[in-house]
Symmetry: C2
DNA sequence: TATTGTTATACTCTATAACTATA
DNA sequence: TATAGTTATAGAGTATAACAATA
């Protein structure tokens, strides 16, 4: 069982909550709820680690996807990275303004932009990645290597299932 | 650390909405990214199933927590359910207007409200819960019972780790 | 003096529609 | 006619500060 002595530890509305101090009721059987509470916490902490820098949360993952898929178009990056294509425009404006990525006109289809990361962007990405890993270290360090690999495998399988057939 | 020099392109057919058609790069090693993409998909589909009804996503989980913790105060519900205490006010206004929950003055501490679900709210909760389960069925039905139980156990453990004393 | 609930406000994120240039 | 990128805008979600009642 979890320690529940910390219920009143943070009575201010500022921050984190103690888990399991209330009965989850039917939410105990909901996958979405479990994912959301962890993800909320991780993203909130990640944002804190990025305080001071003018970086929006999606910009790290967008940069990572551009780095791994040089020449990718904006529409591909939007649909397959989970971005809105309109929001991606201003996001890429940021990346270009910082010199982290460039939009080049695709030679095959002149409607498309071919996105590329710059050397400066590679450096920034490595730094952000390190921050991201540190942010998750509390969790990942506590799991055995096999447990973590297993978890990733299940999550990837679940993500694949989301697109199996009855969904859009 | 594993940098991104490996460019194993799996894009046989680009442009579809199928997952894994782009290389995730460093995101392959990020727990937060994996959680977010699944949770985004589930919540989007859940919102579609709730189309027509005037229900906001947080209202289901708030109602579930009130049902499981009768007499809970707003500040408890906010901090431990992950709600903003100001946003919770208008959320509860909705629940009361629909006759799903009531705010009663706490006898022990007259500053507090004791939240209670109504019989009508119980009915609504059961219905929403069924919709929620159906929304996740594509995923949960494909996993063996033991796999799912194992996943929930790991996720609960991870959520507990988020609060294990070294976070700010 | 501190906390609970409330209100008002602002800021971010996301979603939609319309426009251009290309196909 | 359809698609890629852009712009503008509106809506939801979230965070912050100030206030009244109560402790």
């Amino acid at each position: 069982m979890s320690p529940r002595s910390s219920v009143a530890r943070r009575a201010s509305s500022a921050g984190s909550t103690a888990p399991e101090s209330v009965d989850l009721g039917v939410l105990k059987d909901m996958l979405g709820f479990r994912l959301r509470r962890i993800q909320n916490h991780l993203s909130k902490n990640f944002a804190e680690r990025l305080a001071g820098r003018d970086i929006k949360p999606g910009e790290f993952s967008a940069l990572a996807l551009i780095a791994a898929n040089p020449g990718i178009s904006q529409i591909q990056l939007a649909t397959e990275g989970g971005f809105d294509k309109a929001a991606l425009v201003v996001l890429l404006d940021d990346l270009e303004r910082w010199g982290w990525a460039v939009r080049r006109r695709s030679t095959a289809d002149r409607r498309r932009h071919a996105l590329e990361i710059t050397p400066k962007g590679e450096k920034a990405l490595a730094e952000l990645f390190a921050i991201g890993l540190a942010n998750e270290a509390t969790v990942t360090d506590a799991l055995a290597e096999e447990e973590l690999a297993n978890l990733y495998a299940v999550l990837d399988r679940i993500y694949g299932l989301c697109f199996s057939d009855d969904q859009a």
